[in-house]
């Protein structure tokens, strides 16, 4: 028991002021809107019901392969606990370079065109901060991952959402891109395969986009964190399109393909001028990505690690087919997700908003899934369901959703 007089003295906010400490906050921090996904997380967490099946996650159900974990443990035992070079261990950057060449036919110089980051998230942050000037417009096809727009506004940029549609399999069309461009447009953010829709864009589908990018002198930040989770055919990187390598900052990482979300291991590749600016920010804010994580990432790129990755990818593909078929069998429209590990069925036929549907499904049907509207324009009327969970759980979840739909009739 600590006696009162021994407790550290903590300065309390002046209770006579109603705004607490808010007045100290910078306006750009205060004005970030609260995340819709956070609200739903609180709702799910508040329900103490142990019986809930969650399709609301955004990460693999696999634990990081043992050989990868073992490599990190071994490096700790050997005392590898120091800083690495700012850009990351050269050995790891070389392995990433080789991997990108083998997988996606991309050629990056590990010395000048690459930085190892704390998750893909840091790569996105670095890229946006290195490029945005106040007032710049950042084009973001939506529905999309929730971070691009808030990070953009932190730098004084303006995120401009471009709505994509189920009829187009949520692909970005050249027409809608053209329509969104203004003289202030500077950056196009692409995230294919897409979280939350599972949409992909093929090489041929990206060619006209590349033409517009060139015409309007845009820079592309291509978030390809789900690249390996491409199911019908191979992923095409935007940077591999003719003339696009210099205009593209490729952001990716180990979280999804290698089941390494908690390690926070990512990387960004691009033109040396852009990467060196990003590296400056990285060096002053982060110093370097965690060393044990880098050792783990290096092991993930060995032959054994890659085989584990392929095994996991095959398993996602099987469950993808199961879930899409499941939704269609119960009468929900569900476009075929060709990448990532999400299905994005339409719940418009129920007459409910996606928020109402998700909330009722949670409380009555005991299945958690994320309402589409939190992912921006075009997300309303849809539900993001992550199928990275066991076949038994998925089957049970599908039965529950089916029963829930019948109860709505």
């Amino acid at each position: 028991m600590i006696k009162d007089e021994e407790k550290p003295k903590v300065a309390l906010a002046d209770p006579s002021r109603s705004d607490g400490m808010q007045r100290y906050l910078a306006s750009h921090a205060r004005e970030i809107p609260p995340s819709g996904i956070r609200r739903f997380f609180d709702l799910v967490s508040a329900s103490k019901d142990k019986d809930i099946i969650t399709l609301g996650v955004g990460e693999p159900d696999f634990v990081t392969p043992w050989r990868v974990r073992d490599a990190a443990v071994y490096s700790l035992e050997k005392g590898k606990t120091q800083y690495s070079p700012n850009a990351g261990m050269l050995e790891l950057r070389e392995a990433i370079g080789q991997y990108l060449y083998n997988q996606f036919n991309l050629t990056y110089d590990p010395g000048k065109e690459m930085v190892v980051t704390v998750g893909g998230s840091e790569g996105i942050d670095l890229a946006l901060r290195a490029l945005i000037e106040p007032g710049d417009e950042i084009l973001v096809p939506e529905p999309c991952y929730i971070s691009y727009s808030p990070i953009t506004s932190l730098s004084g940029g303006v995120a401009v959402g471009i709505e994509t549609f189920a009829e187009d399999q949520f692909k970005l069309t050249p027409e809608s891109l053209r329509a969104a461009i203004t003289p202030k447009s500077k950056i196009l953010v692409l995230c294919y395969p897409s979280n939350p829709t599972g949409a992909i864009m093929t090489y041929e589908e990206m060619l006209p986009i590349a033409k517009i990018v060139e015409e309007h002198d845009l820079i592309v930040i291509s978030d390809e964190i789900y690249a390996e989770l491409t199911f019908n055919g191979k992923h095409a990187s935007f940077a591999s399109l003719p003339g696009m390598k210099d205009r593209t900052i490729l952001v990716s990482g180990f979280s999804k393909a290698f089941a390494m979300t908690g390690w926070r291991m990512g990387y960004a590749c691009g033109h040396p001028d852009l990467i060196s600016a990003m590296l400056k920010i990285h060096q002053y804010t982060i110093m370097c990505a965690p060393t044990m994580g880098q050792v783990a990432a290096l092991e993930a790129l060995t032959k054994g690690g890659l085989e584990e990755k392929d095994r996991m990818m095959e398993s996602y593909n099987q469950r993808r087919r199961l879930v899409v078929q499941g939704f269609r069998d119960m009468g929900l429209e569900c476009h075929e997700p060709q990448g990532a590990f999400y299905a994005f069925p339409s719940i418009r036929s129920t007459g409910l908003t996606s928020e109402q549907f998700a909330e009722k499904l949670l409380l009555e049907g005991k299945v958690a899934a994320v309402p589409g509207h939190v992912f921006g324009k075009g997300g309303e009327g849809f539900l993001r369901c992550c199928y990275a969970t066991s076949v038994a759980q998925l089957t049970e979840a599908m039965e529950r959703i089916h029963l829930f739909l019948r109860s709505l009739e």
């Binding site: 995340s35 996904i37 739903f40 997380f41 799910v44 967490s45 809930i52 969650t54 609301g56 996650v57 955004g58 990460e59 159900d61 991952y145 929730i146 971070s147 979280n195 099987q318 469950r319 087919r321 199961l322 078929q325 958690a368 994320v370 076949v391 038994a392 089957t395």
Partner: protein, 163 residues
């Protein structure tokens, strides 16, 4: 063996209760095709049996398992086939393998208790004419069997909802 059959086996060895319809959906194949492939593999004894992996240490009904290295003299023309058969026909014998190295057959035996296993070794196994010697090793704990880990892990550490 064709790719479809291999994929079916991969799924069934993890969960033998998956229906042909579910397997078909998961593999993107036609249900009739999957059913036919399974039937064919049953007929060819590729699929031998749909059994359950039991963690017997959790069942009150106690069992003792031992691995026995058996050294024996092969027979002219028949090699080890006859001896192996004489051993594997006993119901208490769970598996028999012909091995490379210092001994010939590896025999897995299951009994109710130590005495039962010991008596089988001394009365049945050692008395087979061509058996030269046996070495018995009792299994104290099973950690993993047929690729399945028996230890229970807290399975899902993920946040319920994440972006």
């Amino acid at each position: 063996m064709n790719e479809l059959k291999l994929s079916i086996l991969d799924l069934l060895k993890e969960d033998a209760r998956l229906s042909a319809a579910t397997i078909a959906t998961m593999l993107g194949a036609a249900e009739e095709e999957v059913s036919a492939a399974i039937a064919e593999m049953e007929q060819d004894h590729v699929i031998v049996k749909y059994a359950t992996v039991v963690n017997w240490s959790k069942v009150d009904d106690e069992k003792v398992t031992a691995l026995i290295e058996v050294e024996c003299t092969p027979e002219r023309g028949r090699g080890f086939e006859n001896i192996a058969e004489r051993i594997y026909l006993y119901p208490e014998v769970k598996s028999v393998y012909l091995m490379s190295g210092a001994f010939d057959l590896l025999v897995e035996i299951e009994g109710k208790n130590l005495k039962e296993v010991a008596s089988f070794v001394s009365n049945k196994l050692s008395t087979i004419e061509s058996v030269i010697s046996t070495k018995t090793f009792f299994i104290l704990k099973k950690y993993k069997q047929d690729g399945i880990i028996f230890e229970e892990f807290e399975d899902d550490h993920r946040l319920l909802v994440s972006p």
